[in-house]
């Protein structure tokens, strides 16, 4: 005969305050956004607020000229930025992990992009790539790579890429510091015994270092995926998503709909779609990386 399982109330009670806070500060806004997305809710026309079911969603997928370019740009924005940040940070962390004169200063200097406000970074990169007076055009002209000025952030085929470069530059320090910390926590004895066994530096790197920092990489990539996806300030400050829709991302589009056009219902629907897509990406990513310490059990 199966014995009836007794509910343990003590852990529930102990966790209750934390659960309550999570429900209040995360659960309520999420639920409110979902409800808002089912309404025609224009802040400038509050007399005509009405429940329209899934119409915002069908409009986004079928009538909205901006949504699909924004989705495509978001895939590029997140995919290229996080991949490039990971690879460049691995390289930089390896350099900073070696002992050399002035390493402490270099480690501090590397942090500068991370501690610089995003809006300043945007303005700085916008000046570098300014089509009329930007230093990048001058450098490329002096190297005879271009003959005349290129309007980098005013052309649809280059605008997004300049912003991706700015975002890569901004995020490298975070990745580097995380990877560097993980590298330094790999036990020295493993390298020593590998050396005794005759393993080359390359083999030590791929069989000791990489597995040792894998779980850090997994969690850092996940954090960056979410942060880069959510980033509004760089794109909004540099181009506002333009020219046209050429650098519009889902986050910026959500911001424009809700904050500039005051269409809170429609903006919420775009945000919910973005959140669902991001959740799917994160789920797949964690499934794939579960061997390396992802959060999903086998």
């Amino acid at each position: 005969m199966e014995r009836k399982k007794k509910i343990q109330w003590q852990p529930v009670l102990l966790l209750a305050p934390a659960i309550l806070i999570v429900v209040l500060i995360i659960g309520y806004p999420v639920a409110r956004a979902i409800v808002l997305s089912l309404y025609k809710y224009d802040m400038t026309n509050l007399q005509n607020v009405k429940f329209i079911g899934l119409q915002n969603y069908t409009d986004i997928f079928t009538k909205d000229d901006a949504f699909w370019p924004a989705l495509k740009n978001t895939v590029l924005w997140v995919g290229v930025t996080v991949t490039a940040q990971l690879l460049l940070s691995l390289l930089l962390a390896n350099i900073l992990n070696k002992s050399f004169r002035g390493r402490g200063i270099v480690r501090s200097v590397v942090l500068i992009p991370w501690v610089t406000p995003c809006v300043l970074i945007s303005l700085m990169w916008a000046w570098i790539f300014n089509g009329n007076y930007g230093v990048m055009n001058e450098i490329l002209k002096s190297l005879h790579l271009i003959k005349e000025n290129v309007a980098w952030i005013a052309q649809p085929n280059t605008a997004l890429w300049v912003q991706i470069m700015a975002m890569i530059w901004q995020g490298i320090p975070f990745f580097t510091i995380m990877i560097l910390a993980a590298m330094q926590s790999v036990p020295r004895e493993l390298y020593e015994s590998a050396s005794v066994d005759g393993a080359s530096s390359m083999k030590q790197y791929f069989y000791i270092t990489i597995p040792g920092i894998a779980s850090t990489i997994v969690s850092t990539v996940m954090i960056r995926l979410i942060w880069v996806f959510n980033n509004v300030d760089i794109v909004y400050t540099m181009t506002g998503g333009g020219p046209g829709y050429s650098s519009l991302t889902l986050s910026v589009y959500t911001y424009l709909q809700a904050q500039k056009s005051m269409k809170f219902g429609y903006g919420s629907a775009v945000a919910i779609i973005g959140a669902i897509l991001m959740s799917i990406v994160i789920f797949i990513y964690l499934r794939i990386t579960r061997e390396q310490g992802g959060m999903i059990d086998k």
């Binding site: 802040m43 901006a66 005013a154 269409k263």
Partner: protein, 416 residues
């Protein structure tokens, strides 16, 4: 004895502790009424300077001036209106009145205006602008700027062209001023500082709607989409497509177009009095101003009037109205116009030589009565903030034709 001394001392100390209570009672006075005012700056610090004499005239009311950045002003205002947290007085553009009315956030001012002695010092055109086509008046005239054309004097002399008076002459000037100055095969000077980013709809309207177009017809329907408007819009787009405007034009905003003009990248710029001081600081006498060119239907002078509004929920409405009257006094108005680079419209400031002898101000004042106010409708905020820049940029990139652009603009202007 010692014990007595101690007792005395403790008594004195205790009495001392109660002193603040009495002193507080002695200095207690009725708390001052506070008037909160929201505005965006035209020139940093200009409002604080202009309204510095408030406390002398109204010692019982404290004036709290809160400057809000222009880029987020409209968003903040609407959010504050929706949450019932508006300041007593706030600066607006007349096109925002329907939104604020729908939120029940703006007080009707007709009674206060009618009973004010100084009503006649403000021209009727400004009161009409403040009324914004509504059945009642919800705003009080604050400032006005009129768009005109800045011309780089030496560039015109070098190119051998006159300042443009008509649209044909304007396009010819755009072409004539565009030059490769160092012979490297690349253009160094462009004819016109074109603004494709947010806010560019002012110059666009000034150079296209002079062809006879308009936003709404008499019956309230959208009449923007006409063959004449498509043609005029195509000519405007051609300024960029022909290479007479910088390649950066699609994303150029206010800062960029002014910098392009000041640095010699462009030969013409459409803006208003607000930028005159900055431009003359850089270019000195090498700049002139002329009115916007005439099209087939004459001149279209889009204006950017701003007004004061009083919160419907203000608990200090009387003092708020006193502030509006104070802001419209001769000395205060003069100080603000001078500091902030605004066109005076209150008599007798309009006759002050300080303004009439300034060529930039005179050019603005000459056409004060001919200015056009943009339509006042619920869709205008979204149309001007988001739809216009995105659609304009797509047309400049060649993604959509002039006809498609005008159709999108017309569709988004129409109320649902």
């Amino acid at each position: 004895m010692k014990k007595r001394m101690k007792k005395m001392l403790s008594l004195v100390l205790s009495a001392c502790m109660t002193l603040p209570v009495f002193s507080a009672a002695a200095v207690y006075a009725e708390p001052k009424e506070t008037i909160r005012v929201w505005y965006w700056e035209d020139n940093d610090g200009s409002y604080a300077d202009a309204y510095s004499t408030w406390s002398e005239q109204y010692p019982d009311a404290e004036l709290v001036l809160e400057a809000v950045p222009w880029n987020s002003y409209h968003d903040m205002l609407i959010a504050a209106a929706a949450s019932g947290d508006l300041p007593d007085v706030y600066k607006i553009q007349p096109t925002w009145i329907p939104e604020l009315r729908s939120l029940g956030a703006i007080a009707e001012l007709d009674d206060y205006i009618d009973s004010w002695d100084g009503k006649d010092t403000i021209p009727m055109s400004m009161w009409e602008s403040a009324k914004a086509g509504q059945e009642a008046t919800f705003a009080w005239p604050h400032s006005l700027v009129v768009l005109y054309l800045y011309c780089r004097k030496s560039y015109f002399e070098e190119a051998g062209v006159e300042y443009p008076k008509t649209m044909d002459e304007f396009y010819k000037a755009c072409e004539a001023l565009t030059k490769d100055t160092d012979g490297d095969g690349a253009t160094d000077v462009y004819g016109f500082s074109m603004r494709g980013a947010r806010g560019g709809h002012f110059m666009w309207a000034g150079l296209t709607l002079n062809n006879g177009g308009g936003f709404f017809g008499d019956d309230g329907s959208v009449v923007l989409n006409t063959p004449e408007m498509v043609e005029a819009n195509q000519k405007y787009l051609d300024i960029y497509l022909n290479g007479w405007a910088p390649k950066t034009a699609p994303t150029d905003g206010y800062t960029e177009i002014v910098q392009n003009f000041e640095s010699g990248v462009t030969g013409m710029l459409i803006h208003h009095l607000n930028s005159a001081n900055e431009i003359t600081d850089v270019l000195g006498e090498d700049v002139d101003v002329v009115p916007l060119p005439e099209g087939a239907a004459g001149r279209y002078l889009p204006s950017e009037p701003c007004h004061w509004a009083v919160s419907a929920n203000s608990e200090n409405t009387e003092t708020a109205i006193n502030f509006l009257k104070y802001a419209s006094e001769e000395e205060t108005h003069k100080a603000l116009c001078k500091n902030a680079g605004l066109v005076p419209f209150i008599t007798p400031v309009t006759e002050d030589p300080e303004f009439t002898e300034n060529k930039f101000c005179a050019a603005s004042m000459e056409y004060l009565d001919d200015v056009q106010i943009f339509p006042v409708c619920n869709t205008w905020g979204d149309w001007s903030e988001t739809v216009w820049p995105q659609t304009m940029q797509r047309a400049m990139m060649g993604e959509i034709s002039s006809e498609e652009m005008i159709q999108i603009l017309a569709d988004n202007l129409a109320e649902e």
